[in-house]
Subunit: 406 residues, 2 copies
């Protein structure tokens, strides 16, 4: 279930040609880097996907606006420790100032700089600290800076999350790299975290957005940690064409399927890493619903189970309490007959025709004690199927979130 | 906010005339009463409301069926420790056997007995243990048995919850009494617990159901503990007419408003007690949304906030992290403008026009440290209003639910 593939390696956003990164400790958080700058040495095209929360942070609204202009992008500046959300007109002024000062330091246009923020909502951005730190960053840009960038964007994450993959497109090696942060406020309906993907592939802007949407739907939209969706969630994808593949990648053309497969693999690896590093999480559960009347119903059912606090706490205790799964299915809105439901933990069928099988709890419990297992629900009513990754909810989750801000 | 009223006193289901109760330790749970029998000495009319979960326990389906016959009811038999849900055809057989054996012991018709179960889902009901215990119960029926009944129906509840109120209807004293159990799997969209209400009022069957629906909508449908809805939730209301008020209560007639007000007060007191005794809860929060475009939008917004795990854990830490409230509002589906939102903790306005006011966190924190406070959200866009009771989510909640079954 862990979406690892041999060719995916431990690189990141600076692994594709022509990308560099630098970090700084601006003092938004204490004693750690909290500012990351990602730069493409040549102009790149950009695609993005953003939170569907009605309340959107200033940098989210800013990035949407920049992307709508379809101008070349040179850089992304990211701060952690402060979300710059619910900060009114001052918030947007601060975001634009981050962009302008980064542009000045890089000697490019302000609209070639994208801005992301992550952290506490509702606190004014300490823009002067950021402003003081930006001018020194370009001199420190390097291809080796990707690791530090992946660390600088972390909030409650316990480890940096980044990968890369290289593969041939029409005989030319192309690389995709990515990094992600996100450990709480993780819930689908658009990527719910900050993720940055880079590639040196030559690709058209329309194709870039299309590939990103497809990959995000199969990855970042399939994870839930706590059912809370953020105001800042953003996935940005930059392509600078330095790999030199010709012709440019477009849908249906040679190399397209390979490219979207690898992009999806990168995004899935990163999404899985987010759940595995979910706040307080000790295990990852792949929840699959099949046999639904259609995929939409399967998604409803999978989400209800993957989000249920009672289901998630039962995993914490390695408790084969499938009754809670049934209760969650029952309020999901999905259509099914109770007496056709089957539920399996890995390959052990705990429920058949809506009732317990004779597999002893102690046997089921051994599966749920593992750090990763599959929970498969067959509704027995059609061919609709949907998969999601969730994690357990532990006392540590509560401890982290009872203490986050103050 | 605590819906206490002077005339509500510490009685219960056996306070109205002609109701008695008895309990037994059938051995479903160890070392405690786990069976409660509530009897009306004369035939009573009955009304009920049930879970809207698609998966419904056998006793829920059984009670629905009995109530649809509109035959007189004499008794309710309730077991804790086992939900008799997801137990297939055997589950329904066991429920009917509980009814039949209770009827035999009381010498009444089987369809005059209602049955409720609460506890673990998916485990066969230990019907023989119950069957052994029932015959001895009628001899122990007493008016004093109400307290023990309120304890016997408890699962993870830490205390029994029961109240009563007496008031005049057309000059005749009428009493309403109630008891409730429920501490987890608490979420609205129909009462999410077991609640039993009795009255000696003379009232028509249609009026009884109408009064119950109105009261439940203002009470049990306004509480959330963990957003999980059970397969067994049931509210039953029996009226035996022994108060002798004439004419019978019907909507719009003299005494009706007083009766529904008192019934609602009883249900609200019980619902509040459920949240206050929520699994692991240390505080109750009254979440009110006003200024929504309509009541339905206000309800959406209030539910999203009251259910959000991040909001609930912020209360645990007495953290005035209103950004999480904003994020929850943003995904609620309610329509509003971010820049018109106001948020107050008790009487302290933390957010005005969508941004922080200058009230220091330390001051807000003092409110959130209290065992009960109000969180009021004004969307500034209409006259829609809705109120809900929620509680904090603590490490103890996780501890309880990671250990419930095994």
């Amino acid at each position: 279930m862990n979406p690892s593939q041999g060719e995916i390696f431990n690189g990141g956003v600076t692994t594709p040609k022509g990308f560099t990164a630098a970090t700084a400790a601006a003092g938004i958080r204490s004693n750690r880097d909290d500012l990351a700058l990602l730069v493409s040495e040549s102009p790149a095209i950009a695609a993005g996907m953003f939170t569907t929360n009605r309340i959107q942070a200033a940098p989210v609204r800013y990035c949407r606006d920049i992307l709508s202009r379809a101008a070349p992008v040179r850089a992304i500046i990211v701060n952690s420790g402060n979300a710059n959300a619910c900060t009114g007109a001052a918030g947007m002024r601060d975001t634009k100032r981050m962009a302008a000062e980064t542009a000045a330091a890089l000697d490019c246009n302000a609209d070639a700089v994208l801005v992301c923020s992550t952290g506490t909502i509702g606190v004014p951005l300490p823009i002067n600290k950021i402003s003081d730190a930006i001018p020194g960053m370009p001199a420190r840009l390097s291809q080796a800076g990707g690791d530090a960038a992946a660390r600088a964007i972390m909030t409650t994450d316990t480890r940096e999350k980044h990968v890369a993959v290289t593969f041939p497109v029409n005989g030319v090696p192309v690389t995709i790299g990515g990094m992600v942060k996100g450990a709480g406020m993780i819930e689908p309906c658009m990527a719910t975290l900050l993720a940055f993907i880079t590639t040196d592939a030559a690709i058209t802007p329309t194709a870039l957005q299309s590939a990103l949407q497809q990959a995000v739907d199969a990855s970042f939209n399939r994870v839930t940690v706590d059912g809370d969706q953020s105001t800042n969630d953003t996935v940005l994808f930059l392509a600078n064409g330095q790999a030199g593949n010709t012709p440019q990648l477009v849908p249906e053309a040679p190399g397209w399927d390979m490219f979207t497969d690898k992009l999806t693999a990168v995004c899935r690896r990163l999404a899985y890493a987010v759940v595995a590093d979910g706040e307080g999480a000790t295990k990852v559960v792949e929840v699959t619903v099949r046999g639904a009347v259609d995929a939409a119903d399967a998604a409803k059912a999978a989400r209800a189970v993957a989000r249920s606090l009672l289901v998630k706490t039962s995993w914490t205790g390695a408790d084969p309490n499938w009754g809670r799964v049934m209760a969650a299915l029952g309020v999901s809105g999905a259509v099914f007959s109770e007496d056709r439901i089957a539920i399996a933990y890995d390959d052990l069928t705990a429920v058949h025709n809506g009732c317990a099988t004779d597999i002893p709890f102690a046997t089921l419990r051994k599966v749920i004690e593992k750090p990763a297992f599959r929970l498969t629900i067959d509704l027995g009513g059609g061919i609709g199927e949907y998969m999601m990754w969730s994690c357990d909810c532990t006392e540590e989750y509560v401890r982290i979130n009872a203490a986050y801000m103050t």
